[in-house]
Symmetry: C3
Subunit: 173 residues, 3 copies
């Protein structure tokens, strides 16, 4: 992918056959993403597709590793959608009319941190492989700017019995 130039993220998403979803509505009294200084922090993202979780349960028993990895990829795409929606709203607020969230992602300078929570059977220990679904999506879409520090953790249960939850912090121009 080109390292610079307007529209590079939108072009890369298209090349990958990905569509940035509408940012998920929060489940409660909070928002999908907040800017503070040069950073955007997202809420923990579940792998919603069209408002529903395609898969639920614990990884290692109800959900196999490959399926969970794909779900982590979806959750990371939703995290990018949350960032893109915020950046698009900022651009619109500064004039110039509506902005496409995918185009607004050109402003992401670096994904700083990813935390991946995996709802795990106590015997399942491949959380890094699962969260890698998120890491590779970020690299696929953003190139070098998508390379991040990361924690992968196995938890008891996630909201709505989701198998994975992904939160990210990004630095923007």
């Amino acid at each position: 992918m080109p390292d610079a130039g307007p529209g590079r993220v939108a072009a890369r998403l298209a090349e990958l056959g990905l569509t940035l979803p509408a940012a998920a509505a929060p489940l409660a009294a909070y928002v999908p993403a907040v800017r503070s200084g040069a950073h955007v922090w997202t809420s923990g993202q579940l792998p919603f597709v069209d408002g529903a979780l395609p898969v639920t349960g614990k990884v290692g028993t109800d959900v196999d590793q490959a399926t969970a990895t794909a779900q982590a990829r979806t959750a990371a795409l939703n995290a990018l959608a949350a960032v893109g929606a915020l950046l698009a709203a900022e651009a619109a607020a500064h004039g110039g009319g509506p902005v496409d969230p995918a185009a607004a992602l050109d402003r992401v300078r670096r994904v700083v941190k990813v935390v991946g929570f995996v709802a795990s059977d106590p015997a399942f220990t491949a959380q890094p492989a699962v969260v890698n679904g998120a890491s590779l999506l970020l690299h696929d879409v953003l190139g070098d700017a998508g390379v991040h520090a990361r924690s992968a953790v196995g938890v008891t249960v996630l909201p709505m019995d989701s198998p994975v939850e992904i939160e990210i912090v990004v630095e923007t121009d």
Copy 2:
């Protein structure tokens, strides 16, 4: 609540019938809150009241959802107390004598991120509803400045068998 003006947070706390507790002493070799640049990061806060946990156990079995939600509200109040104590100490260090921690919270420009850990039975999946106790407290006390990005996660067990733990990052003036 008024969006600006000195004493607005203290007035809002009084209106809500809330008293900012003394910041909890850390359980080990760390501090309740640290400033770095424009941000204050808190330690994970348990729902201590007068130095004790009113409720212990796992949510979904030992502790019901409504009780856990109230505990998350208490933990968030303790997080604000940790921030207020640090801001008050900073104000005192810059001269002018003692400062009330509630009054010092006027400097909070935005709650950036909340992470809520809920000690959960594996079948309990309403972590967002529980952590909403924290989210609503922050909005009740701080208004728009209290709206944040958030992650809610169900974990095996928390320190001292607490049902919830809340950590926050805030941006200040």
Copy 3:
């Protein structure tokens, strides 16, 4: 320990009989540490020694509290190694030839936040005592600059069945 002066962290490590390990290779598509502005964020660090985990399993059943505390200390040393390697690479990139990672840690102005995940039996509630192994290591090596905000959480399972995982955020000069 001296509060200032070049080489103070390397001297302190030697005094403690500690050697900064080579930064662990990431298990997947991410890096051990990322700089953003004045901060360095690490990936979650496991207590690897020479590329292997000396102890695996859940704390409270497979692993006792004292052993887990020692493992948290090792994971924190690995987190410092990740920070030191990044700072050394930055120094080398700015000219002047190779830099020792321990010497590069002189640039750490403050450890801002530590999150300690402890793979726990549901009945084990002394996560703060375990994570204290990490907190004390940071204080031992960095003095006042090592005092941080902290969360300690008990999770179901960690990567490779590690008993602990430690992530840190530091502010640098």
